[in-house]
């Protein structure tokens, strides 16, 4: 596996006068899990949004399967095979679980030449995929708004896994999950990776990162602070890197080893 599935070169993103990203580069290989770490506001979400077609980078290039790509909108990225779980989940509370699950990718069936939304198939697939993640829905018809935060997050993950053909991007997917569901998500990442799909996994939890990551990249204030491969770095070192090195040592002193 020599060719990266996706390569980002010197990505910059400016929002008016705010410079959210100032030259971040990285590449992801097929079947590899890249963990993206960093403090709040480091630019992780902004970075993956340039990957998924939400933002156009102000400067920089994106290569997908070796070809220069110019995603105009998320639909282009999805068509290319990139599925994303956004931090805010991109769910519509008033719509049913199944309608949310298939939003933008609705299954259709033809009856007498007219194309219909295949509700039956949508409901079945949704129930099945949610069951795989360890969530037992009452029915696929219930509104997303009636689910708990973690259940909602699981729907978003299940949806991305289902449609993520080549690259799966997860922006803090485990932030609201219980122990069993977190274990499930990490197991899913592992499974997906073994199928040859590239995973970009954003988290604040070093243990989660160490459990599934092949490479680690730490962002800080819109720049790459450091990168490492699995085995080259211990979790303590990673933790220090994330918190900006020295600061954690002083913190640890004052908090008497509670973190």
């Amino acid at each position: 596996m020599s060719e990266p599935i996706i390569e980002m070169k010197k990505i910059e993103k400016h929002f008016g006068s705010v410079i959210a990203l100032s030259g971040v580069s990285l590449k992801v290989m097929p079947g590899e899990c890249l963990c993206l770490l960093g403090d709040n506001g480091a630019g992780k979400s902004t970075f993956i949004k340039t990957m998924s077609g939400v933002h156009k980078p102000s400067v920089g290039e994106i290569y997908f399967e070796g070809k220069s790509m110019d995603f105009e909108c998320p639909r282009d990225a999805i068509t290319a095979g990139i599925a994303t779980v956004y931090q805010d989940l991109a769910m519509i509370p008033l719509m049913s679980v199944a309608r949310n699950f298939f939003m933008g990718n609705e299954p259709t069936k033809k009856i007498a030449g007219i194309s219909f939304f295949d509700h039956k198939l949508a409901n079945e697939v949704t129930m099945k995929e949610m069951k795989k993640m360890g969530i037992h829905l009452r029915s696929a018809d219930q509104a997303i708004g009636t689910l708990s935060g973690g259940e909602r997050q699981t729907v978003a993950i299940a949806r991305a896994v289902h449609f993520g053909a080549k690259v799966l991007i997860l922006d803090e997917p485990t932030s609201a999950l219980g122990v069993r569901q977190t274990a499930n998500v990490l197991a899913t990442i592992d499974k997906v990776r073994k199928r040859g799909i590239a995973v970009v996994f954003i988290t604040h939890n070093v243990r989660h990162a160490m459990a599934v990551g092949d490479t680690f990249t730490v962002l800080n204030r819109g720049r790459t602070l450091g990168s490492a491969r699995k085995g080259e770095i211990t979790s303590e070192e990673l933790q220090n890197l994330m918190a900006g090195g020295a600061t954690l040592a002083t913190l640890e002193g004052s908090l008497a080893g509670t973190i």
Binding site: M103, F117, K131
Partner: protein
């Protein structure tokens, strides 16, 4: 904590112990249209009790309020889909006046064949619909403001065009211009005339006793207006609930950003819905112009509010993302029946507004309650 990667024990498919089983009757009741259904029943009961001997439920009486209701349905279907997609169109009433006048001027004053005038008007109006949609998207302004501007622009243009070409605000002569045209009957004609004649001959519906229409049934066919209402209703309901595009309509109105993130072409959906609303206004106007034989610059006044009220009575959420076309049609029927029913019952017509306000309030309160039941919000 060590991460385990074993999957949890698989449960069997027994019903979830954490769900109270709701009876299927209750389940069937909890739907966006419930407010509309209750309102319709209430309104019909009221008039059956108070106005049954006034001729409201005779063949011609039924036809009377059905036509008015159909008019409301036509514009309500457009307004409903647009509202679910998260936008408003306040220019519907002005669009009705504008398109009617456009047909009249093109055919009567400029002498174009009627079908050319009708098709050109549809293209023009849907173009204007697309323009307001495009403006809403490009400027990011609320559609409320953009279409309010079009409310004035279109009404002003209508009056200006009528005065500057004919010196009048009412342009007649459409009946003659539509004579022998192939497209005009699609909007102004009647169907099933044979069936109604047969019903009349057999005495099942009343016939005229004297005059030049002696022997003809009082209701001599179903006006195309009603056929259009049914077609648009079925189309709207099918589009919203049974197609992929319907899911996009819900998604665009529910949360445009989330919808964009997962690849829904939100802008396209919204612009198309603006165009569909304009199309519905055009159907309304064309039928009216051909039926009346004239176009008036003040036609369609306040129709936008009547459409929006019908939609809201029908259970749609003003903020978008939720609603039902069937509900909107029931709202339109309530509207039409109340308006004509009070006339039959001989009630002072100013009370229409009181009655309407009360129904609106009742339906909206009920709908809010139903919506909470569905979504589980507090």
């Amino acid at each position: 904590m060590t991460e385990t990667t074993s999957t949890p024990p698989v449960k069997t498919d027994k019903p979830d112990e954490r769900v109270k089983t709701r009876s299927s009757f209750r389940e069937a009741l909890i739907r966006p249209e419930l407010g509309g259904i209750c309102g319709t029943i209430l309104v019909f009961t009221f008039f059956l009790l108070t106005a049954s001997d006034s001729g409201m439920f005779s063949a011609s009486g039924v036809m009377n309020w059905s036509i008015v209701s159909s008019q409301f349905i036509i514009i309500a279907v457009g307004a409903c889909l647009l509202m679910i997609a998260g936008e408003f169109d306040l220019s519907v009433g002005s669009m009705i006046g504008f398109s009617g006048m456009s047909i009249a001027l093109l055919s009567v004053v400029f002498g174009l064949p009627m079908w050319v005038a009708i098709i050109a008007t549809f293209i023009l109006c849907m173009g204007i619909g697309a323009l307001s949609g495009w403006l809403v998207i490009k400027t990011g302004l609320p559609s409320f403001i953009v279409t309010l501007a079009f409310l004035f622009i279109l009404r002003g243009l209508t009056i200006f065009a009528a005065i500057s070409t004919t010196n009048k605000t009412i342009v007649g002569g459409i009946k003659d211009a539509a004579e022998g045209d192939w497209l005009a009957p699609v909007f102004g004609g009647k169907v099933f005339t044979g069936l109604f004649q047969w019903l009349g001959d057999n005495g099942w519906i009343e016939t005229f006793e004297r005059g030049f229409k002696k022997g003809q049934p009082v209701v001599d066919g179903i006006p195309m207006l009603m056929v259009w209402a049914v077609i648009l209703l079925i189309f709207g309901h099918w589009l919203l609930t049974k197609t992929k595009f319907g899911n996009w309509i819900f998604a665009s109105g529910g949360n445009a950003q989330a919808a964009t993130y997962v690849g829904v072409p939100v802008n396209r959906v919204k612009i198309l819905m603006f165009m569909f609303t304009a199309f519905c206004a055009c159907v309304f106007a064309t039928s009216q112009v051909i039926e009346f034989g004239s176009a008036g610059a003040d036609r369609g006044l306040l129709k936008e509010f009547e459409a929006i009220i019908s939609v809201v009575i029908g259970g749609a959420l003003l903020t978008g993302g939720y609603g039902s076309v069937i509900g909107a049609a029931l709202g339109a029927i309530i509207f039409g029946v109340v308006q004509q029913g009070l006339f039959f019952a001989g009630v002072e017509s100013s009370l229409f507004r009181v009655f309407l306000g009360a129904i609106l309030l009742f339906a909206v309160i009920l709908n809010t309650y139903i919506r909470r039941m569905i979504t589980g919000e507090k």
